[in-house]
Symmetry: C2
Subunit: 339 residues, 2 copies
Amino acid sequence: MGQRSRATTIADVAAHAGVSQASVSRVLNGRASVDPEIVQRVQASIAELGYRPSPTARSLVNGRNNTVAMVVPDLENPLFQGILKGLSLAAARDGYRVLVADTAENVDDEEAIALEARLRCDALVLCAPRMPEAELRALVEAVAPVVVVNRLLPGVEVPVVGVDYVRGIRDLVDHLHALGHRRIAYVGGPPTSASNAERRRGLAEALTARPDVRIDELPAGSRLEDGYAASGAVLDAHRDGCTAVIAFNDLVALGLMTRLHELGVEVPRDLSIAGFDDVPMAGFATPSLTSMSVPRGEIGAQTWLRLHALIEGGPVEHSVLHRPRLEARDSTAAIGVRA
Amino acid sequence: MGQRSRATTIADVAAHAGVSQASVSRVLNGRASVDPEIVQRVQASIAELGYRPSPTARSLVNGRNNTVAMVVPDLENPLFQGILKGLSLAAARDGYRVLVADTAENVDDEEAIALEARLRCDALVLCAPRMPEAELRALVEAVAPVVVVNRLLPGVEVPVVGVDYVRGIRDLVDHLHALGHRRIAYVGGPPTSASNAERRRGLAEALTARPDVRIDELPAGSRLEDGYAASGAVLDAHRDGCTAVIAFNDLVALGLMTRLHELGVEVPRDLSIAGFDDVPMAGFATPSLTSMSVPRGEIGAQTWLRLHALIEGGPVEHSVLHRPRLEARDSTAAIGVRA
DNA sequence: TTGCTTTGGGAAACCGCTTTCTTGTCGCTA
DNA sequence: TAGCGACAAGAAAGCGGTTTCCCAAAGCAA
């Protein structure tokens, strides 16, 4: 690419070394047995001319890029960042690069962006796609090889890597239950979020397993502001008997705690609060926030593993859901005297 | 790319429409005057066959990719994430995609990664490169067109987009000075960080401008843990007369505040604390954290502006340093009774 | 020595486009 | 009616590699 003045090509090298292009190519790719003397000459010429093969030309003939694209709804989401980092590092080890495509939460653009990205890459990672399930099924069909992250897609021949939110939430409810809590408020995430739906399924399962628990659902969102704004509803629930809160994620939990602190509600004495994701800040909140830890980088690495296998046509490792790990900290405590 | 079974090519379209490849290409690119009837036929064939031109083949002949790479020391750094997001959205508007290359803070790999990335792209963004200045100068020469972010490079023909840390720190010192603080502790960042050096220059300038101020430098780092761990040194400085702290960034400030809270030091009554970067959490800390706000997305957008101009060979907008905006919050207050 | 199989390496085809070059057709003027 | 210029569209030449195909030389057995 680019406007460097006439980069040296394989033809230049061939001429300089007095051999054919084919031989240079063979040397370059370590093909067949080439006369050691020719290898020498070619390598010398390459070094002298500072020759670097054009990846584009190679792509054209090889039909592959050594590039994959990650399509993501919002690059600023810490979860996706961690996944991107893990993916990009793992891919780099295999000589692949990662292209990012931010759909800016624009559901209608998702498909077009994915298709376009696929044209430039050997494979795709669809990160938490927002589109309706039917469309998604058609899309993954069209853009294979592809790995879907953080969105379940039952009965489809596509590896899915994600978080077992159902299990995570159940574990979290168990934790609170063990602390004596029976009335729990769930401060929910964006209504369109698939992972929010998973969390709610977890709540439903937990209810079935523990009939003595009651859960109040309060709508909120996914950001600090949303948690902050949900404080009113939470306090209502509290007055109504809730002793613990599960927030959609840590940001919501932190925002909520901030507001509760302002209002003089003491956590965990008056109210236990738990988040999800275990963002770095969770351990540094006051009080430190109980959360479910999600291995972000690991998810990225696992994603690459599957994508790579798919690209190489090797055996496809199957889907995997990472079970979040409970990080019990100070924001949840045994139920005690109520304010 | 990819293993789809023999994608349709321009030749297929030409055959199907009964015209030459050249005509199809002309239709595709809106070139010259083509018989409207042929345009019709070609477009019909394209639609019917579901033809999409190969970006790779186009790249080969056009000598460009419509892709740029962003080389970054650590994708998990919130600052770089914001820049990446801004860059990628702005570039997308012009039909460009962004490739990410994480050097994992590995200084020795930076050059190789940058050169390799440049081979696949039309241009490069070097984000806070860690390498020594001499090498960097040689590198930017080699990989042009390039824009450097968050690292000053005086006297070089390369656009630099960044943050005016010097000015930001001076403004912050002014803020504290206005509140009556004269003894300030600076909890510094990583020794190799160029932006840390800039901040220190800001401190030096502030001292010159305000001879009545004294600043104690304490080494720390860039993360929550580093701030947490720096509490001992900060308390020493406090006992020694410091009434305010400027932290390398918000994470350090937040980590420090967490520890101080644990130790019963009250902010801002006993000690004023200010951070830098204005991460989302800053406004939600307890007390809310005074910080210098940096327009992350805007930096990304500005970077694209320059890169695009460079690629197109248009007039190069020159370097720009964004002056951080003071977000005065509750963690800094007028000097008062000391604990 | 002859004849056959290896084997190394060059010529050329090809990947899927864009663009130049060339040809053929049409319309116009003399 | 012949002749010239415009112009639309096809043929073909790249872009920079890889790979097939083929030939010449070498190695070996008979």
